[in-house]
């Protein structure tokens, strides 16, 4: 399928040797911004191709992280395949990888090797621990990076176990960080001509998205506790239950609390002992505040509560929506945060933009569907490194080039 590039990075070519999440997400951001992203896969393909659910053999997981890219697949065990990737890298501006420690070296595609064929290449790695430091030799992923970065220990309830974040947020945040590092390096190259190596660790990013938690340890030696996502100081600030779902509200001060107390028909609580100040409400959060609001909400519908709180008290409030609601939401459609794309086998599916910003000039956009395994082999090899039709046919015959245009669903 043809892709349509649009955005500030049009004309920049990216070679991606990544699987999973953070690396591919970085590639998807660059693609949304207009870059020409070529994804290199092995004979088996990115492992997310095998993560369900599937439609006609195409995986929602793979589509989500790889739409808008061109795909080439090679038997990476073959020497010739490694040479081809090197030749492609010589023609690219940016290279990204997120393989397990040592793997990129064994493919001969480490920074030192690529610098020889392309001295100005901007080379980025994203991994759980980074490429230096005592833990860099170990394999990891988002679940480990979040645990190492203090997020698991503080997610959940004070009397319950530490919980993983429900969604691999840190892979997205780490992938975006790599995109940032790469573009900083690319800008440097525009002025000085030099390429360089950019090393991003998702664990590092996790301790950097810290709010005040890191300073809490280094300035005050205080260990962060779990609060069920409720605000430490102010309240009610967090998630509460309705009869048919849940909603979040953020009450920031005593005035707002007064309006909430009236809205829930407990006006006396505005001034009552144990309720009047933020500090009171913060301290009594689990014993009084959350039970009070959950009890009040148990016979009311989520959307009615959100309307009541937002309109009558002007306290910021919103429903805890499901993904189906997001997929159909008109606001996200109008902002092109959620759009439909046409996959070659799965047909019409919805995806979120990887790059979330909206720009006036030009507007970034999802370039098109995710590739089937090896879908753009011929196009990439002929346009980027000028191989002839015969040469490409020879590579297929020898099994160096791989293609699977009719994926089967695992059963």
């Amino acid at each position: 399928m043809k892709l349509r590039a649009q955005g500030p990075l049009v004309g920049i070519r990216v070679l991606e040797v990544c699987e999973g999440q953070a690396g591919p997400y970085c590639g998807a951001i660059l693609s949304d911004l207009g870059a020409d992203v070529i994804k290199v896969e092995s004979r088996e393909g990115d492992y997310t191709r095998k993560l369900g659910p599937f439609t006609n053999g195409e995986s929602a997981y793979f589509i989500s992280y790889n739409r808008g890219k061109k795909g080439i697949a090679l038997d990476l065990g073959e020497k010739k395949a490694k040479e081809i990737i090197k030749e492609l890298a010589a023609k690219c501006d940016i290279f990204i990888e997120n393989l397990d420690p040592g793997e990129i070296e064994s493919l001969g595609l480490d920074y030192k090797s690529l610098k020889e064929v392309n001295p100005s290449i901007v080379y980025g790695s994203v991994s759980c621990y980074g490429r230096t430091g005592p833990l860099s030799k170990y394999a990891g992923n988002d679940i480990v990076a979040e645990a190492m970065g203090g997020h698991t220990s503080s997610n959940g309830w004070p009397d319950g176990p530490p919980e993983p974040l429900g969604i691999a947020l840190s892979e997205h945040c780490g992938g975006a960080e790599l995109a940032w590092g790469l573009l900083c390096a690319y800008l440097h190259r525009m002025f000085n001509g030099h390429g360089q190596y950019v090393d991003v660790s998702v664990s590092d990013k996790n301790i950097s998205v810290t709010e005040n938690v890191l300073a809490l340890a280094t300035m005050a030696n205080v260990t962060r506790q779990r609060t069920g996502g409720h605000h430490f100081v102010v309240g009610p600030y967090g998630v509460f239950q309705a009869s048919d779902g849940a909603y979040a509200m953020g009450c920031g001060n005593n005035e707002m609390w007064g309006r909430i107390a009236r809205a829930i028909e407990r006006p006396e609580l505005q001034e009552a002992e144990g309720w009047a100040t933020n500090l009171d409400r913060g301290q009594n959060r689990t014993t009084h505040m959350i039970p009070l609001l959950n009890e009040w909400g148990k016979d009311k519908k989520r959307d009615d509560i959100v309307r009541l709180i937002s309109e009558e008290t002007l306290v910021p409030c919103g429903p805890c929506v499901t993904h189906k609601e997001i997929q159909k939401n008109i606001h996200y459609r109008l902002r092109e945060t959620v759009i439909d794309i046409e996959q070659p086998k799965a047909g019409k599916v919805s995806v979120a933009s990887a790059f979330a910003g909206k720009m006036t000039d030009p507007r970034p956009a999802i370039q098109g569907p995710a590739p089937l395994l090896g879908e753009h082999n011929d196009e990439i090899l002929s346009t980027v490194i000028g191989l002839s039709g015969e040469e490409i046919a020879e590579l297929y015959k020898k099994g160096i080039l791989v293609q699977d245009l009719a994926p089967k669903q695992p059963i």
Partner: protein, 452 residues
């Protein structure tokens, strides 16, 4: 450590603190109208990479100057998000102050802000006004649901709504997925929407800067907390679009991630820890590590698809194995000996001592004028040739007023004295305490300045 030093900030700040910029953005100037978290974090990312960031605060200061941990009146929250910036503090309801902002915008490359949509316009500092005096400027706004005035790139029906981080977590599906299936969902451990959005905005600014170097054109970048969090939803949007309407929505799954197994928090003999097996290769190694290599070939478990179908069985086997060992043993066997992603669950007081983060310079000393020296988070993206650095301390309120007005706008000391007399510029360097919201407010009132 004494309770307070009994000295005014002006006495402590004997020498001017000026940062020599280092990094790929050295030479770019950023005017930073940000407050609290999302945009301040973005400003710090820009500063870490060498940009000269001028933080413009209203006369009552960024409210995060009051957020803990507090030491000698300086706030850990504010320092984390504002280190390496110059501080300019003015009464933004005063027209002379707005004029100064515009003069600075004229000579800046980037302007960042996260006031409620409409506020910057009301002050005369909206995108329309700024692009007239500096068409090449990259103007970056952060809001809950997007901006909606006439130049806004993508207004939507929710755009006028006010949102905090907690609302963005709710309306992007993240809270729905966080917690146990039989209990209500709960908020994430911290303000991920703000921090994730700051990071995405940084990418956008760099992309726009690259384009500007080529074309000379500036632009307005509008980023919403909710959009960034929807974008960070793994496979879930695509997943629900594939499913029939009557299929139940994906839901939170407690200690284990929904669509991969075995992947999540497990309990060892002494404590909880994490295992992340996201592909078959790693599953094979897990089975070897547990001394059960045959499980990798068992048709009930050989693919992720099959493991999900038999989730309780395989996770039960792993749980039993973990329950017989300590975290230390589990991590050694899995992570160190079998290359299976696994690790302990660290708290903040634990990770700040971890040698790995120190080796990666992720904990670097920062010297604040009143608080003294402590460790703060370092630069995440490690660039080999033009690395960034934590450029310096966070400013006290109005610390660089004089420096900025002299250096960039050529004001004389006399002219600056007049700005102070006219209550245009404000600082609290004569306090024996760095900052106190009430003191600052009272002071503004006393001097006849308006509350904004």
């Amino acid at each position: 450590m004494p309770e307070t030093t009994q000295k005014t900030s002006r006495e402590i700040l004997k020498k001017k603190r000026i940062f020599p910029p280092q990094g790929p953005l050295a030479g770019f100037r950023v005017l930073d109208f940000s407050q609290v978290l999302a945009s301040p974090y973005l400003g710090t990312m820009l500063s870490d990479m060498g940009a000269e960031v001028i933080k413009v605060e209203a006369s009552y200061g960024d409210s995060s100057r009051g957020y803990g941990p507090l030491k000698e009146g300086e706030a850990g929250y504010y320092i984390t998000q504002n280190r390496g910036k110059y501080g300019l503090c003015m009464d933004l309801t005063n027209s002379k102050a707005i004029e100064i902002c515009k003069e600075l915008a004229k000579i800046s490359d980037i302007l960042i802000e996260n006031w409620r949509p409409g506020i910057m316009n009301k002050r005369g500092l909206g995108y329309d006004a700024i692009r007239e005096i500096n068409p090449g400027i990259i103007y970056a706004s952060v809001s809950g649901f997007g901006n909606f005035d006439r130049y806004a790139p993508a207004p939507g029906p929710y755009s006028p709504r006010v949102a905090y981080d907690v609302i963005a977590q709710a309306e992007s599906g993240h809270q729905w997925m966080n917690g146990f299936p039989d209990l209500a969902p709960h908020g994430l451990d911290m303000s991920w929407s703000d921090l994730n959005t700051g990071t995405h905005e940084a990418v956008a600014i760099l992309a726009a800067l690259i384009q500007r170097v080529k074309t000379g054109r500036g632009q307005w970048i509008d980023i919403a907390l909710t959009d960034t969090m929807v974008a960070s939803n793994e496979n879930l949007i695509c997943m629900v679009s594939m499913a029939a309407d009557d299929v139940p929505a994906p839901c939170r799954n407690g200690l284990r991630r929904l669509s991969i197994s075995p992947y999540g928090v497990f309990k060892a003999k002494d404590d909880y820890f994490v295992i992340g097996v996201d592909n078959d290769k790693r599953f094979t190694r897990l089975c070897e590590a547990m001394g059960r290599p045959e499980l990798a070939r068992d048709p009930k478990f050989d693919t992720n698809h099959h493991r999900l179908q038999n989730r309780s069985k395989i996770e039960g086997i792993v749980e039993k194995w973990c329950g017989e060992r300590t975290v230390e043993q589990c991590v050694r066997i899995l992570r160190d000996e079998h290359a299976v992603p696994a690790g302990p669950i660290l708290t903040n007081t634990e990770y700040v001592k971890h040698p790995h983060y120190h080796a990666r310079k992720m904990l670097v000393p920062i010297e604040q004028p009143r608080t003294g020296t402590f460790e703060i988070n370092g630069v995440v993206s490690k660039l080999s040739r033009s690395p960034g650095m934590v450029q310096g301390a966070a400013p006290l309120m109005g610390e660089h007023n004089r420096h900025i007005l002299k250096k960039y706008l050529g004001y004389s000391d006399k002219a600056i004295d007049k700005l102070y007399d006219d209550l245009v510029t404000v600082d609290n360097l004569d306090l024996e305490y760095a900052y106190n919201v009430d003191v600052a407010r009272a002071k503004t009132k006393e001097r006849g300045g308006k509350q904004q």
